[in-house]
């Protein structure tokens, strides 16, 4: 490491201090909320599939009974 690098390192140490790492509160209630939200969320792939189906039905309405028959 060069002298310049050491000076930069020293400068960083002097100007930026380590942060307080203590957790201010219990996060478990927030975790439960997040899990509920994420579990209820519909994946983007399902929305894409629905969009493809709707587009298909829009352009070929005759496919709807065929689709329902195969459901």
């Amino acid at each position: 490491m060069s002298e310049h690098d050491e000076k930069i390192e020293e400068l960083v140490r002097r100007t930026m201090a380590p942060v307080d790492t203590g957790l201010p509160r219990d996060l478990w209630p927030n975790m439960l909320r997040r899990m509920e939200e994420r579990s209820a969320a519909v994946p983007w792939f399902d929305w894409a599939l629905l969009a493809v189906l709707l587009a298909w039905f829009f352009f070929t309405p005759g496919a709807i009974p065929v689709f329902l028959f195969h459901m």
Partner: protein, 172 residues
């Protein structure tokens, strides 16, 4: 069946136990990287959500703490990549840093700005090595890279910091 095995099988009570045991450690690790308390809380939740989602892949014979730290590091790295450079940094400079507070504040702003301009991969290593004074071994384990790669990233970060500070008229 111990708590790690129960967690791997999707038991929510086991997850809660692990969450309560490790939330402080995970938060502490993340806040050291992102240096923003609000973001660190959110990223702690994100980390545990990722852990919960991947529970089936977790090997109960291995350390949960180390796995959590690795995932937390990735979540923090994703955050740094997304975040705009003007992230508010925490922590006060040591009182003996520079006698004149105005010069000290100016220096601090410039160093923080130079840090914020570093690419996320270098910034994470530079923060942990230069500011938090962690060992290269500890950083390497958290990032899943070699100690040589850590040394190299610190070196590159120092060079970039020097270049940025020089551009802003600050020659250390």
């Amino acid at each position: 069946m111990d708590v790690l095995e129960q967690f791997a099988h999707g038991d929510l009570d086991a997850f809660e136990t692990l969450f309560r045991q490790h939330q402080g450690e995970v938060y502490g690790w993340i806040v050291r990287i992102v240096r923003d308390r609000g973001a660190a809380e959110d990223l702690t939740l994100e980390t545990f959500w990722r852990l919960y989602r991947s529970r089936a892949r977790f090997d109960p014979a291995r350390s949960f703490g180390a796995w959590a730290r690795r995932i937390a590091t990735n979540a923090a790295l994703d955050h740094l990549k997304r975040a705009r450079p003007e992230v508010e940094l925490l922590g006060e400079p040591p009182p003996q840093a520079t006698p004149n507070p105005a010069i000290r504040a100016e220096m601090r702003t410039q160093v923080e700005a130079a840090f914020a301009k570093l690419p996320a991969k270098l910034r994470i290593v530079a923060t942990l090595a230069l500011v938090e004074q962690l060992s290269h071994q500890e950083i390497a384990e958290a990032l899943g890279i070699s100690t040589t790669a850590v040394r190299l990233r610190v070196f590159r970060a120092l060079r970039l910091l020097r270049k940025t500070l020089k551009k802003s008229g600050m020659e250390p």
